[in-house]
Symmetry: C4
């Protein structure tokens, strides 16, 4: 993943964008009641911002909490938190280039994580898939579980499986995308969903997917999905 | 199914929740004009609350009737009732742990009941499927019929097929989910639909579904789907 | 098809219901810009009521015309008419029991007309399929055409292929459903679409569809789809 | 493609229709944040009108720019332009009969461009497919790329692959439709999407698609999709 420095965002606009990201993910059918999106705090890179325990479509600025890498609120907030916030902390810890993370249960993404076929980039909007989207199987590191990445050990295992990729599938659960900014992680979660949906319709067929080099070149043009972000943002703002 | 006691609900909030459940089922595309949801009366466990004959999305509190296990209204209500209310009475009779029941014609659920492949849990949200979702074939107990579970004998046959499971498919008809509370039966009906939709897209393929123990552990965390219920409720309230 | 006599409708309520039927077909995604629905005039059984040339969702009472079996407006109306109104006239001519007809291009219905597999009733709501839904191939009677049933000869060929069935697929075009009243023809068009959609997802698989006798019994309970009609009508009225 | 002369449109109504076309494409789910639609300037056939760089659903009249065949704005407009405007200029250059062009990333269209099966006309609304819809593979003319048709050379290669057809698929990217007027290019983009969606559901099966002559006759009746345009326009106007 190329890590193009973006202009630093002030905290207020970052919070506002994070709320919008939550609502975009719901509006674009990437998340349902579950899933979450976070951003690394640019002023304190060992902290990240994420909603408290709440369905993404319901998130407002008051619901955003700042967590450290132990997943504790830095201001002593006592509200219930996502049990799977360790997905975020452990990926941020291992991947300094990652500034934002999205976790979802998009049904087609779930399906591609259990169907035994490697995800390939079907079109340029999903170029990031070309570098590989590993499938994380929680059973390999943690045995029989409730499938949730709800502690640091499980989060670390996921982060290690992700490696340098831009996304990972999670068997029996969902998927994760990361980005060098909020809109890239969100954009990738949308196109991961669409690409998974398309590929699931042609399982077992030989398809003319992007070559690695095509995928790399295509992905390098998808740094922050500005045209999408603009459209998606206006859609959720119109619903307010 | 674990039966965690919830705080007893007063009748007024129970009626209100039952109306919301009806509208959620429509809003989440689990039911169309058909299907119904009921709750056992906590104050009189041999009675249950259910709408009179009406499409779920149109149900209001005035439409709720209280039926005994003979499926007669306990207050002499003369309005037309669901012909298939025996699905509810007979399951409540056989399963004291069941406090709420949902019956639907969700298309993908219908499909999984006729396609000859056993339903398996594809992700943790559908963990309850791991304990088995039997397929009820009305022909085995009742011969050639209009497919409706519209008397006590047919209801009993369905309840017996359900056994200790949390849901059942009905060949050529639809499906049933049960729960230890309203939101669990509703939540399971939503995830039964999504899991059926996903599995129907990979029929005949070997898929890495949840192990029995993973499914059991995942299901034990899905007691009442509070994050979903919150989101789903706000969606239908916003439509009022 | 059983032909249960309904109470005669006055012209005003019939016109109103026909407009609602047009809008229901659009709202239920049975028709897009094309397709049409008609009712036989109960006061003059050799006439039928249908919209002038217009997308169904835009139809108002002023757009309804009364046509004779030559497909001419009985009151000299000069507005453009559906080129395929002969579908209606020729079926009414051959089938005195038919009181209402719906023609659609529902995509899944189109697909089932070209995929080489016989349509079977997957669930009780589509019981009418059990008596057979023939595939009309316009090429057999008319050779190379623009696929449109736009004259009396083509309409007659379609009516003959329909025979005593409750619906027909049209290769490379769409489908037709008929009923003993408006809401039955509309209801069947909805469930033809859903059944086609489901069956198209399991092509080539052995499925446990309804037995002929189950289908017949189920269909005999679907005379006018009152619960659906109520729901569908309220949905389109709420959009006004 | 038959080129029936339409009455010349004044610039003001043409701009208004082009804005509506942009919004129709979004409303009909033919485009997402990407894709574009253009019309040749009837008063200056070596110019065409297209939006500046913007998601189609957000386009207003102020966003329309007039470009020459070098893809430069004729009035010195400095706003950011679509990088792929060369799709339009090079097709207009090679095809004097083409008056309007639509480019999309419709997912099913993307899928048909990579799945190795030739697109065939499944129903009369997609008759234009009968004359062939070639698959443009950018790699053949340009080697490893980011998949974008973002210069004149790539645009010319696409235009040459299109040849005399009414549409082309683009491997790993999307598709293009052309027409003798705006509503024909738009209508074809809608039915290309629907036909692709249907065919993708029966890959590998023998299907009874339209014969060449049937497709030609059907297409000749789809000159400007007036019934669709009317419906689609009213839908987007109602959203304003």
């Amino acid at each position: 993943m190329k890590n193009i420095p973006s202009p630093p965002q002030d905290r207020s606009s970052l919070l506002s964008d994070l709320v919008i990201a939550n609502r975009i993910l719901a509006d674009q059918d990437v998340v349902d009641g579950y899933g979450h999106v976070s951003v690394r705090n640019p002023a304190e890179p060992n902290h990240f911002l994420i909603s408290r325990w709440l369905a993404p479509d319901l998130v407002t600025e008051d619901d955003i909490v700042e967590l450290n890498f132990d997943c504790d609120p830095v201001n002593g907030d006592k509200r219930k938190l996502y049990s799977e916030r360790f997905i975020h902390s452990e990926i941020y810890r291992l991947r300094p280039d990652v500034k934002s993370i999205v976790h979802t249960h998009s049904p087609s993404v779930v399906l591609m994580g259990v169907c035994g076929e490697r995800l390939v980039p079907i079109y340029h909007m999903a170029g990031f898939i070309g570098a590989g989207v590993p499938v994380f199987d929680i059973r390999k590191s943690s045995g029989m579980t409730n499938m949730l990445v709800n502690d640091a050990k499980r989060g670390k295992a996921l982060a290690q499986k992700l490696g340098n990729a831009s996304g990972s599938l999670m068997r029996g659960h969902g998927g994760v995308t990361v980005g060098s900014c909020l809109s890239q992680a969100v954009g990738r979660s949308v196109y991961l969903k669409i690409n998974a949906e398309l590929q699931s319709r042609v399982l077992g067929r030989k398809i003319a997917s992007l070559a690695s080099e095509e995928a790399r070149l295509a992905d390098s043009g998808n740094q922050d999905f500005p045209k999408d972000w603009d459209l998606w943002k206006r859609k959720v703002m119109a619903k307010k």
